[in-house]
């Protein structure tokens, strides 16, 4: 029953994006954003789009997450309230 895998992955997407938006620690937010990118990559594979899956994996986990962590290391780590 492969459609159940699709449904569970999409619900995971919504859950991780909620956690990213609500967390106060910016380093944790960027790491969970990397996990969000990886789950999105598997969703692309389930929709038969292998090129997009490769691109999202390389760009999301390889470049975007690293750039976020570099920026956080040069600026604040906690979100001020």
């Amino acid at each position: 029953m492969i459609w159940r895998l699709d449904t569970i992955l999409l619900l995971f997407l919504v859950a991780t994006s909620l956690i990213v938006v609500r967390s106060k620690d910016l380093l944790a937010a960027s790491l969970i954003f990397g996990a969000y990118s990886l789950i999105m990559c598997i969703v692309w594979q389930q929709l038969s789009a292998p090129d997009i899956a490769l691109t999202e994996a390389a760009v999301g986990a390889g470049v975007t997450t690293v750039l976020f962590i570099v920026t956080i290391s040069k600026t604040t780590r906690k979100e001020e309230e």
Partner: protein
């Protein structure tokens, strides 16, 4: 239309509903959060939700990835290839704007000492 019809249509188009949910979550992060980096993460979530909507529109039940390998005939069912080609360009544009925005934030922190949108607005009007 009746409630059961509405819910069954939501079930068929589940990918679309998740895409607009993610769009709303990203929009909330852009509008309601004060930190610039958090706003930017929200913008990224909005972009990936648009990609999800677009590629789900091109999916076909039982379709294969659009790559010709051995043993495929002219009657094989393929997935729509055009949205994937357009989204490839979209992902590159997204990563370009990400890198530029993050380097601007580094400079803002060097000059103003804070990344909070309210404090920056007050500093500007002093």
């Amino acid at each position: 239309m009746s409630l059961s019809l509405f819910l069954s249509k939501m079930g068929t188009n589940f990918n679309y509903v998740v895409a607009i949910t993610l769009f709303t979550i990203g929009l909330y992060a852009v509008v309601a959060k004060n930190n610039l980096i958090k706003k930017f993460i929200g913008l990224n979530i909005m972009e990936t939700s648009c990609f999800l909507l677009y590629i789900s529109m091109g999916a076909v039940k039982g379709g294969r990835a659009p790559i010709w390998t051995e043993g495929m005939k002219k009657t094989t069912l393929f997935v729509n290839p055009i949205p994937q080609a357009l989204i490839l360009t979209g992902i590159v544009v997204a990563v370009s704007t990400t890198s530029l925005a993050l380097s601007l934030m580094i400079k803002i922190y060097e000059h103003c000492g804070t990344l909070d949108a309210e404090k920056l607005k007050r500093m500007e009007t002093e």
